[in-house]
Each structure stands twice: as structure tokens, then as C-alpha cells.
Symmetry: C2
Subunit: 394 residues, 2 copies
């Protein structure tokens, strides 16, 4: 028997697409395009000196450890620091932490640990794109649960659980990507009660929760009665500290921790020890809370510049929300507008955004778009909005 020459890709790649966000970003490497597309923090706000000092400490005082193999769950110092931080909202022991190479790896590991081909994951409508990609590669069938501006609708969630027997529910309760919406406490209570009642596990993805500009923090679902043991909660250094170090972490209890560890062995043995120790050092010696206050102040101003700028010129059938934190706002441009179709013209006009349709697991609303307000200053945002207006003919 003679094979056809060359590689035969696996079937899982037949349905899995490249990330539209990443593809748009590749196009907009051009300096003349103002990008509202990616959730890219403003590098001018990074604590570069603090990170330089942290890496310098690690490479000077812990070099042999930092350059060597290490254990799969993660470095003790880092697990302790992130457990301390999580414990502000949820009692957490360092042993309950699995360090990951960024949140994306965390999503992938949870998917791999729980999903067989054809298994259902329930997601919000719309939901975070890269999670869809990670779960799809594990063979999942994603089912959207009808949602409003406060997140999933409890009745619809109950019906979906009954119908689909999902392996888990995936939610981003704080400043959701892509919509910027936050689930209020009362909704969280209803959802948690339902999940506990039906024994349905939750993957609570919380990269943005600490980036709150207005209003009061809402407790994580994992902290509500009965939820800690059936929730994997995920945080990341990417949004509050720096994405380039690729440090995220999962908090879980019981058997799933062991499956996550074995998955992590298979995917990459351990996260870069250099970065783990540097982030641990940063957390132990620098004031992340003060940094977040500074960043939140800048992002609040940018959010307002974008929301106010857009509301001043949007046609009457269009709307944008004003999230209380995070990185994104969500625009609904109304009947008949197709944001994907307009994108090429927007790029010609020198501005980029992400069309809303890829964030829907089904039944996309083609009039929607995601706009990030964190990358640019208010002055640049104003220019970007002028370009959007030109592209859309507002």
C-alpha cells in the first residue's frame, strides 16, 4: 500500500478556524492603522522598571532554578502569591493552583480534561472566541444560551442543561469579552443555585475582574454556596500585569486538578520558570493594587472618550454600552448593517475593529462589533472614531 505523499491533517482542523482577531491583528501591523481590534494593553502603562528589577533579581539570585526544569503545577512562590490574591474573594490554598502559560492554555487544559468528541459546553451568547477554538479542538459541541445585558438567562440555562447534559458551562462574568457586560450578584446567585442543583461544573474565566473603574466588585460565582468544588476559576497576568510573560493560573479542587496537571505535562511540562519566578517576585515586592488603580484611571478615561465620542455621532438605531471595567465595549449598529462587510473599507480608512459575528457559537448578529478602548489615548481614539464614521457613512 502506498500513501499519498505529504501530511494529512486531522479532522479536528476541518472545523477549527484561525482566530479572526489574530488574523486582523496580523493585517494591522501597519503603523497608519488605529486599532480598536485586539485586547492589547497599552505598553506605555506596563511597569517596565518593576519587571526589569524582578527579572534581574531572578537571573541574579535564582538563576540555576530559573534556567532549570521544574515541577508541573508551578513554582511555590507563584502559587502562594496568586492563592493569596484569590483568597481575597475565595479561600484558596496554593495546592489548588495550576500555573498555565497564559489563560489560553488554561482554557485548552480544561477542555482537554473534560471533553470527549460530541460533548456539549454551554456558553454565553455571544462568547469569547478563543475559548470556542480551544473547546472545539477537544471535540466539543458549543451550545449558546440566550443571554441579556446581565449574562445568561437562568431559565434558558436550566432548559439547556436539561436538554444537553453539558460537561460544563463556560462564563466570563466580569466585563465579558466581547460585550463588556457584568453579571450582577442576584443573577450570579440564580445561576449558582442552578449549577449546584444540577451538579453542573463551571469554568469561570476572570481575566478582567480586577480592572474595575466604576461600581462595586461582585463576588465570583465560585465563592457562592456549594460552588467552590464544582468550579474551575481562571485568572491571568495578561490584563493586569503584562501578557508577554504568558502567566495564568487555574484554581480548582479535587480530581480535576490531577487531570489538569497530567494535561499540562503533555502540553508543555511546565510554564517558563523564568517568568513564573519573575511574576512571583513582582507580586511579592511591588504594589499591583496601585498599578491597577493607575491603569483603571487611564482606561476609564479612554472608555469615556470612546463611548461619548461614538454616542455623539452614531445614527439613532445604533447603540454602544458603557462597561464598568475591562477592555471592551459592544456596539450594535442596527438592522441591515454588516460590520464584517464594512471592515475592508474601515481598514482603508485607517481603523480596525473586530466584527461581532465570530463571537457567536450560533445565530450571529451581523450588526455587532467589539471595540477595545485600552490600546489608544483619548486623542487617538477621537481620530479613530472619525475614521469609523467615514467607513460607515455616519
Amino acid at each position: 500500500m502506498v500513501n499519498t505523499p505529504g501530511f494529512r491533517l486531522s479532522a479536528r482542523f476541518a472545523d477549527v478556524k484561525s482566530s479572526p482577531v489574530r488574523d486582523i491583528q496580523a493585517v494591522i501591523g501597519r503603523d497608519d492603522i488605529i486599532t480598536f481590534a485586539g485586547g492589547i494593553p497599552d505598553a506605555d502603562l506596563f511597569e517596565a522598571d518593576d519587571f526589569a528589577a524582578a527579572f534581574d533579581y531572578v537571573l541574579t539570585h535564582q538563576a540555576k532554578r530559573a534556567l532549570q526544569y521544574a515541577s508541573t503545577p508551578g513554582e511555590p512562590e507563584l502559587r502562594e502569591q496568586v492563592a493569596l490574591r484569590l483568597a481575597r474573594q475565595l479561600p484558596t490554598h496554593p495546592d489548588q493552583i495550576q500555573v498555565t502559560s497564559g489563560s489560553q492554555e488554561g482554557l485548552f487544559l480544561v477542555g482537554m480534561a473534560l471533553l470527549d468528541a460530541g460533548d456539549v459546553v454551554l456558553v454565553e451568547q455571544p462568547t469569547y472566541l478563543a475559548a470556542v477554538q480551544a473547546f472545539s479542538l477537544a471535540g466539543a459541541r458549543l451550545v449558546s444560551v440566550p443571554s441579556d445585558e446581565h449574562g445568561v438567562l437562568p431559565d434558558a440555562l436550566a432548559a439547556a442543561i436539561a436538554e444537553h447534559d453539558p460537561k460544563f458551562v463556560y462564563l466570563v462574568p466580569n466585563f465579558q469579552n466581547p460585550t463588556g457586560r457584568t453579571m450582577p450578584l442576584e443573577r450570579r446567585r440564580q445561576v449558582a443555585e442552578l449549577l449546584v442543583q444540577t451538579g453542573t461544573p463551571l469554568l469561570e474565566d476572570d481575566p478582567y475582574g480586577e480592572l474595575r473603574f466604576d461600581g462595586e466588585p461582585v463576588p465570583p460565582l465560585a465563592s457562592l454556596p456549594g460552588m467552590a468544588g464544582q468550579t474551575v476559576i481562571q485568572n491571568s497576568a495578561s490584563k493586569t500585569m503584562a501578557p508577554g510573560v504568558r502567566i495564568g493560573w487555574l484554581r480548582a479542587e479535587g480530581d480535576i486538578l490531577r487531570a489538569l496537571e497530567i494535561g499540562k505535562q503533555a502540553v508543555g511540562l511546565q510554564t517558563a520558570v523564568t517568568d513564573q519566578l519573575a511574576v512571583a517576585r513582582y507580586l511579592a515586592t511591588c504594589d499591583l493594587d496601585a498599578h491597577i488603580v493607575k491603569v483603571a484611571a487611564a482606561y476609564r478615561e479612554r472608555r469615556d472618550a470612546m463611548v461619548d465620542g461614538l454616542r455623539a455621532i452614531l445614527p439613532s438605531q445604533a447603540s454602544v454600552n458603557r462597561p464598568e471595567g475591562g477592555m471592551f465595549l459592544w456596539a450594535e449598529l442596527g438592522e441591515g448593517v454588516d460590520t464584517a462587510a464594512v471592515l475592508p473599507r474601515a481598514l482603508e480608512c485607517g481603523v480596525a475593529y473586530v466584527p461581532g459575528w465570530p463571537f457567536y457559537a450560533a445565530d450571529p448578529d451581523h450588526s455587532t462589533m467589539r471595540l477595545s478602548y485600552v490600546t489608544n489615548t483619548p486623542a487617538v481614539i477621537a481620530t479613530g472614531i472619525e475614521r469609523l464614521a467615514r467607513a460607515f457613512g455616519w
Copy 2:
């Protein structure tokens, strides 16, 4: 319908075990145990000052880039440096490089790109354990090809290709893990010809090739006629520079590069930018060749200490080989010895190794063991061998 409470792990975890090597290493954190178990480089040989300088440069001069998101294939400087190095043996363009978070991620990405449930991967007998784990998680069925001290037997390989229609063949041609054996040029030619003739892709894993102490380098299979386009070749910074930075890279051509990139997006967006830039800086400004000469000299001495020490006391039915490079040697202790059964006593005696059986995809030889000679100095190796002798009753 009410679910059973809690997490239901995916079926893929039913068959996938934790790495015995990692598990043994977790046990031997104790300072009083001399370990020949892991392929752990001697941290005293790391170029700690050079890496401190490289990280310092990156965090001082490229901090905004290093701390920011970046492209999925990898940083241009790093892709260029590793392409230059690969080009010593195989013409390589930087666009043909996908950076990975260590070799393990590379194995996982190739498995994910090519394997559907039930697909066959042909492997050497014995083969590298963590590759088995990575391919198994993608659903592969691993089939061992009979091998001798020069690697897979071409006739047996031909028969296995005809019988199993494998998605790819996985080989470690230089100083293989676990056996230390190297495939001679003539065998490589026979294998390459067969793979080209049958259009069978190859994953050529080469983490150890540059660590040669004796003899002449042998060209990679990827460089033999017709092979470049149907081979993914993989290298790593872990064995020649430092494992803690988690930097590896794949070299491939054509469509599979795109699948590897999409897989990498899903598994973790990109490898830590800090480490990518630091390794690129190290390669651009330091003399890796000189470092390898230094390391090879130390490892040669250690290999000889271990081989000579063992041969002086091994019973007549037992044997060890003397690899020309790499990190491991392979001992066959002969009929009736079960190295796994003796391991607890060895640990009591204060010495660790890895039993050979887990390295076999089928039909394990229980009398075998893998010994790493790189972690310890000759004096410590001598003490370790005394302890082995006590444990085995030599």
C-alpha cells in the same frame, strides 16, 4: 435530568498516565538521593551570566515588546537565529519556523495537527515516553517498530507502514531518549528512501544532536533527498542552553505550518515573549558553540565515569552501551531482573533511575533501565553506582 455532581473527566484520560519520569522526580526531591533518573542538565554548567545579560538587555531595551502580546509563529529575531543554526544542516528560512514552549509543546502540536482517534503513529522500540503521552492524548494508537542498536529496522518499518498506514513516523535519530543510540547514515538513507517512496511523513525529534562527544555528526533525515517537505524536525533550547526558559522550535514546510500555527493559537497564543527575545539575544551575542564544547567535555567525562564504573561491577549477563553523545545510557540487566521492582530498594539505598518498561509502546523488556549521566559529577556518579550495586546485589 440531574447530573451527578462534579467533574466527569474525558475518556482520553482513562488511558493516559502521568509521566513516570516526572513522578519519580517528584519523589526524589530529597537531597540524600543521587538521581540518574531525569534528563536534567547540570545547573552548574548553565551560562547564567550570559542569560542574565540577555534578559537584562531585553527588559531594558525591548521591555514594551517583551511584556506585550506578539505573533503566534514567534519573534522574528528568534526564528532567524534558529533558522541560521538549522541551515548548517538543512536549508531553512525563518518563515519555516514555529516557536514552541519547549519540545513537549512541539510534540503535542504535531500530534494535534495530524492525529484523529485511532490513527497510528509508528515509533521506535523503545521510544521517548513523553511523546507517547502527547500522541495518546490526541487519540493515537502507537505501534512499535522492531529496532536494533542503530534504530528502526528498515524492513520492519516497511512492513509496519504497509500494515498500518500511519499518519507519521516518530524518530529520535541522535542519542535517542531512552537508549542513547544513534542511527548511522546508511540506515538513515534506507529509512528516508522508504518514507519518500511511501509518502510517509516523519517527525524527527532532535534535542540532543548538538551534544556530540565522539565521532562525526550524521546529517538529519530531513536533509536527505526528498525528505525536507515531508518532515517536521524539532530542536530545543533545553539540552544545549537551558530548559527553564521553555523554548523549542519546529521546522516544516507547506500546509502543516498553518495547522501548527492554529494549534499553537489554541494552546497558548504565543510562547513567552520575554524568553523568546532573551534566547534570541543570547544566540546573537554569545558563543553557543563554545558553550557546547564545554558541556560536551563535562558530559563525556561523566559518561565514561558511569559506563566504566558500571562495567567494572555489572554481572556477566548485564550490559550498558556507551553513547557518542546526549544524556542517557541504556542498561540491560538480563533475564529475570525487574528494574521496576528493584526501584523502591534503590531509593532506600539513595539512588534513582528510570525503569525501562514505560518507554515501550508494547512488549516491554523489564530488565532495562535508563540512566542519565549528565546531572552529577564523576565523584557523585561513583557513589551512585555503589548504591545501585547495593540495591541490585551486584
